[in-house]
Amino acid sequence: MKRKTLTILCLMLVMAWLAGCATMEPPKKVPYRLSPQGTVIWEDELEFMPPPPDWKLLRVEVGENDINFGFMKSDAGGYPSVTSFAYDEEPFGSATKLEQREKEFFKRFLFNAILQFQILEKKKVQVVGGEGLAVTVEGKDPVKKEKVRAKVIFGKRGDRVVGFYITQWRPMDGTYDLSAFEIFDKFAASFKFLKKSFYETL
């Protein structure tokens, strides 16, 4: 009898402890939800196909009301082997024409890394329901003995240019994992705007 009472008391304590946890830390509100089709709906504004679960969601707190998120995956091969990709509402530059914006963008892209860039491919693509421009580059840092392969896709949202980019860092003698670029392409190709942007409503 004494043992039973002790067990009930222990259970009550555990329940009280769990209830305390529940009240102390309310569930965090996330800005996204999953649709029945498996796509992510971000703040009821964007819809896209997420990458596989081994990609970690990144959020950068740069400003209120800004859309700022991306995905990252650490790769085999040690530092600096990492791949990340993101959607960017305000890519570097200001031109509204894609070709002009591309020139402005690459003056600043990965500026801090001081890389020697080479354009590997530039082609017109379809993205976010219109014509876009996809540019694949490789940058090398002979001093740090690192390299990066990147692809940037410029598209239009209303009058403004938006961008998608992926960067994959490797040691100079490392091998790129091109399957990550295929995942990025699927992400960009699946991207939809569910409503007008702030700028389109002005």
Partner: protein, 111 residues
């Protein structure tokens, strides 16, 4: 500054013009404007009187603090915010001002 450049077409829509003011010399500003592809005017105010008048000149420092100021057609300061510009907030404010008619040169500042 790049954010203002991106928004120039919207400022145009709301009858607003943008000016940048800095204590840097003209040569420095020319290079700065070129590096960011800026097409709006940057004013070099080496003697700092504009910064003093807008209360952005910290005592004994060679640079201005960051402040966004919106002046209406009649010369009245209608908006002043310290720090990095909140572009969406600025655009909403300009839209409101334009609807009031205060920035519309065709109405002479009258709604």
């Amino acid at each position: 500054m790049e954010g203002h450049q991106r928004n120039l077409y919207l400022y145009e829509r709301f009858n607003a013009r943008v000016l940048g003011v800095s204590r840097d010399d003209i040569i420095t500003l020319k290079y700065f404007a070129k590096s960011l592809d800026l097409t709006f005017p940057l004013i070099s105010n080496v003697t700092a009187f504009l910064g003093v008048s807008m209360d952005v000149q910290p005592e004994g420092q060679p640079i201005f603090g960051r402040r966004t100021v919106i002046i209406d057609k009649t010369g009245i300061i209608r908006y002043a915010r310290q720090g990095s510009p909140d572009f969406k907030n600025i655009l909403l404010f300009l839209k409101k001002l334009n609807q009031e008619g205060r920035l519309d040169p065709t109405t002479g500042g009258k709604p």
